[in-house]
């Protein structure tokens, strides 16, 4: 029952963390990419530093699907502790490779899986001197075996090694030696290549492989952000690392060699968001990045920013909660807490990037919206987007971009006016004008989180207080007109399903796209699909939902949080919105959606 799978399968590599497998696995993925074959890599790593199970899942997809399919065709089982589970996960007809230096006792057998043993440790122990190399080269050796088994282009590998170890040619040689060892063993002992195999394509040119935290950090550089303050927390840390690194490279003043940026590691998240507010108050584009627990800690300050109308950008790279939860697993679980962060009647603008491309561009959008609306903008990304290896088209940059700094009176404007009042709705769009400290004494006012009237004065008077919070409510209506519109996906080429549609956000996108294609092919129907990009909801969102009897709202949390916002903010009858929820910490797969939607449609038709 060996069907050939050409350029379309999943390799999963089971390792122990701290053993240096990441470089080898990355090399494997990169070499496929350089063969012109679309590929993505997802990393499932533990919340510790050394000695626990870790997996890397490579999806090879000639059609360019970027999500998890939900299946594993080839397992590289390097971790004895998870061997049984790893074997169980392989799809019938699949393969498993393991280090046969230590034959697995009591190992589960599966007649429908081909098990390939290679004495990796034995080989490496013999070939290499240092303890370090013995461990590290094992990983490289299994990549070598895969080169033979999957028919990877050896020249690509060689090049990759040369580039990587340009500064240390002896390391390139050692790596090449290990590759060859694995390659030779596989060629000798197995029929190579397997029916599961690769063949060069031309489908990756103009593309890059990158994670969303890197592009978000770079996006903030291009947005003109100058100040960041953050507290380390997985999975947001690498976003700030990226920003800092790019700043070090790109933001030294050419004249003075001084930094045109300021990165401050805060003592905690309360302080991080406080610094961001202080900096934005003073006119810099400033941001922070965090994850769930940090969002909770920031909520008092977020309420202040909402009420005192201070711009701020916050990336929340979501991870599994509640509480500390599973810090190295992905979820979309902070939607409600971000939308209503802080006590009292408070609402925040949210953006939902779906991939590293969005992370880059939404960085500029986030800062522009924050300053235009004078309010915090929370970019709800997640671990899957932020830390996994995505294939995206090269990012394009419009060099004519100019930041929208919103309504800020400058010195001249202040000089020309009789008096400045901070919270007047001068233009009828519920957005007041602000001033920056140090510019002109006439612009001076007092920012406060306590009751204030439209002039900016302290108040405890009911009508004056109401006046301001009512305008804030109206400002949210303005926000709905300024945020990015949802992305509508319709396939007009075939008859469209009229009763049902799909609606989702963020990192569900890839899986839904594939699921739609598969469902069409399987004759399950051609479903329209809308991806929401922001909260408050653009009017197109309500218009879309209205067209169908039922809309399946797909999201990665337990409590159907997006659906909650849709119901409440768009005044939609909940019975029209059917939740489809994936919340086990793994990036949602296309399989899950195909099965889930099919089941729901069957139910719906029966009802």
């Amino acid at each position: 029952m060996t069907t050939t799978k050409l350029n379309d399968f999943v390799i999963k590599l089971a390792n122990v963390n701290g053993t240096g497998s990441a470089s080898a696995n990355g090399m494997l993925m990169k070499s496929i990419f350089r063969m012109g074959i679309p590929v993505t890599g997802k990393n499932f790593f533990p919340s510790n530093i050394q000695g626990l199970p870790t997996w890397y899942e490579i999806r090879v997809s000639k059609d360019g699907y970027l999500c998890r399919s939900g299946k594993v065709d080839f397992m590289v089982a390097m971790n004895a502790e998870t061997y049984n589970a790893d074997l169980a996960e392989v799809d019938p007809g699949g393969y498993l490779m393991y280090d046969s230096t230590w034959p697995r006792k009591d190992m589960l057998e599966r007649s429908d899986v081909t098990v390939l043993g290679i004495p990796l440790s034995a080989m490496c122990n013999e070939a290499f001197e240092s303890a370090r190399a013995k461990v590290l080269m094992k990983n490289v050796a299994y990549v070598g075996a895969l080169v033979a088994l999957l028919d990877i282009d050896m020249a690509v590998i060689e090049n990759l090694l040369k580039e990587t170890f340009a500064a240390k040619p002896h390391l390139a040689d050692a790596n090449m030696q290990a590759i060859k060892m694995g390659f030779d063993y596989a060629t000798e002992h197995f029929e190579c290549p397997l029916p599961l195999k690769l063949s060069p394509l031309d489908s990756t040119s103009g593309h890059v492989i990158v994670d969303g935290n890197t592009t978000a950090g770079l996006g903030a550089v291009y947005a003109g952000a100058t100040v960041t303050s953050w507290y380390p927390i997985t999975p947001s840390t690498s976003l700030i690392d990226a920003f800092s690194l790019f700043c070090q490279q790109l933001r030294k003043d050419p004249e003075t060699d001084e930094n045109n940026y300021c990165v401050i590691q805060a003592e905690d998240e309360l302080s991080a968001i406080g610094m961001v507010l202080g900096a934005n108050w003073n006119g810099a584009r400033a941001f922070t990045a965090t994850s769930g627990p940090g969002l909770s800690l920031m909520s008092e300050f977020l309420g202040l920013a909402y009420y005192a109308e201070i711009p701020a950008v916050l990336y929340d790279v979501q991870r599994v909660s509640p509480s500390t939860g599973m810090p190295t697993r992905t979820q979309q679980c902070d939607i409600v807490s971000a939308a209503y962060a802080s006590h009292g009647d408070t609402k925040h603008v949210l953006l939902f990037p779906s991939d590293p491309t969005d992370c880059f561009h939404m960085s500029q959008i986030a800062f522009d919206l924050a300053e235009r609306l004078q309010t915090p903008v929370i970019v709800l990304t997640d671990l899957d987007i932020g830390m996994n290896d995505w294939m995206i088209p090269e990012i394009e940059w419009d060099n004519t971009y100019q930041p929208d700094r919103g309504k800020v009176y400058d010195a001249q404007q202040l000089k020309d006016m009789d008096a400045f009042y901070r919270y007047l709705d001068v233009d009828g769009d519920a957005i007041p004008w602000r001033t920056l400290p140090g510019v002109d004494p006439k612009g001076a006012y007092f920012v406060r989180g306590s009751g204030h009237n439209k002039f900016g004065g302290y108040t405890e008077k009911s009508d004056e207080y109401k006046d301001v919070v009512d305008r804030l409510r109206r400002k949210f209506d303005t926000a709905a007109t300024l945020v990015p519109a949802p992305i509508l996906n319709i396939d007009e080429s075939k008859p469209r399903e009229k009763s049902y549609a799909l609606l989702s956000i963020g990192s569900c996108d890839g899986a839904i796209r594939e699921a739609r294609d598969r469902m069409q092919q399987d004759g399950h129907g051609n479903l329209d699909y809308m991806r929401v990009q922001a909260f408050p909801f653009h009017k197109d969102v309500a218009d879309f939902i209205e067209q169908y009897d039922q809309v399946f709202v797909i999201e990665q949390n337990r409590d159907a949080q997006l659906r909650q916002l849709l119901t409440v903010e768009l005044e939609i009858d909940p019975s029209c919105l059917i939740p489809l929820l994936s919340y086990d910490g793994m990036p949602v797969s296309s399989n899950f959606i195909v099965e889930g939607v099919s089941k729901l449609m069957k139910k719906g038709h029966a009802a």
């Binding site: 507010l277 003073n282 810099a284 202040l304 060099n399 001076a444």
Partner: protein, 351 residues
């Protein structure tokens, strides 16, 4: 009410400073604090200090937390922007503001509750980063605004108190700051303007974090267990629905302490605080001897005042970080945008 601006009457006779302003140009809105509150005396010393230094008011940024003390920035330098933030977290606002614009002059006003209870962590870390700002703790040993609970600095001057002492050992912001590496540490008394104004001026001029702990009696909640005016007493002894919200009107306490002098000053409630002012021979540049000196006098129940520790030539945050001399906030976007070609170059590495 901060919005009630005091009518600005020009007094042609008033002396002007180097930039042609009178001390009235350094005033703010009318105070809503209790009559005689020490905090108001400090505000007036602040106006005097900025006036004497000829600082343009709008080049000052005022930041504070929450509390009676934290309200005071509304009451001075009306021409300066102010930020009355949340309780205990002003240091982070100040740090961010300073990061964005290092060219302004920063004054942070806080209370003992704001800085030593809820704000202890942020206070400590702002010191550690050596933010270039003047940081005032208007220290009254109580939470004024929430009606007189003990704060973490309670029990200052406990020798004269009649009743039971505050059960916990007090946090002395001066000792704490020195042990955290603060580069300018002083202590003053709200009633001694003569002494306070020059200290404020040095603190404003200091390049780095300048802490002034200013003893500032709360006239309303001098919350000794033994005091009949105390909140706890009121609650315990009167029927709940027939309680007094009466606050006595007081004169502000004024008392000058000369260099080297020891003076025992009576507070509104009859308690006494013994102030010991350091004299010219005191060496504020030696950390170890500064700590010993303060500790020794503290053991005797004396509150040492004056400039207690000074580390000159230290690096404030921006010079540590290597920031541009120009404010981040005013850098033109052309300096910040790496451009299209750079993006292409970066992306080559991602192939």
């Amino acid at each position: 009410m901060s919005f009630l601006k005091k009518p600005k009457i020009s007094h042609p006779g008033l002396p002007t400073n180097d930039i042609g302003l009178t001390v009235r140009d350094y005033e703010g809105a009318m105070s809503t604090l209790c009559a005689g509150c020490g905090h108001d005396s400090i505000s007036s010393a602040i106006m005097q200090a900025y006036f004497e230094l000829s600082v343009e008011p709008h080049r000052v940024a005022k930041v504070s937390g929450i509390g009676c003390s934290s309200k005071t920035p509304t009451y001075f330098l009306g021409g300066a922007h102010g930020f009355n933030s949340v309780h205990g977290r002003m240091p982070s606002i100040a740090t961010g503001a300073n990061a964005a614009n290092r060219e302004l002059n920063y004054i942070g006003v806080s209370g003992d509750g704001d800085s030593l209870s809820i704000g202890l962590g942020q206070f400590g870390h702002a010191i550690r980063r050596n933010i270039n700002m003047m940081y005032l703790i208007e220290n009254n040993g109580v939470y004024g605004l929430t009606k007189g609970q003990f704060s973490a600095s309670a029990d200052r001057g406990s020798t004269a108190k009649k009743g039971e002492a505050n059960p916990y050992s007090p946090i002395d912001p001066v000792l704490l700051a020195i042990s955290l590496g603060c580069t300018f540490v002083g202590r003053g008394f709200s009633g001694d303007k003569e002494h306070l104004v020059p200290m404020l001026k040095s603190a404003i001029r200091h390049n780095g974090f300048a802490l002034l702990d200013i003893i500032s009696p709360c006239v309303t909640f001098n919350d000794h267990e033994g005091s009949t005016k105390s909140y706890a007493h009121t609650r315990a002894n009167l029927r709940e629905t027939v309680y007094a919200d009466f606050t006595e009107h007081h004169e502000e306490i004024v008392a000058q302490v000369e260099p080297g002098e020891y003076k025992n000053i009576m507070m509104h409630d009859g308690s006494r605080v013994g102030f010991k002012r350091v004299d010219e021979s005191y060496d504020p540049t030696n950390r170890i001897s500064a700590i010993s000196y303060i500790e020794e006098h503290r053991a005797k129940g004396e509150v040492v005042t004056g400039l207690l520790y000074l580390e000159e030539g230290s690096s404030e945050m921006h010079s540590v970080l290597g920031s541009n001399k120009q404010a981040m906030a005013t850098l033109p976007y052309s300096k910040l945008n790496p451009g299209t070609e750079t993006l292409a170059r970066i992306q080559k590495r991602w192939r």
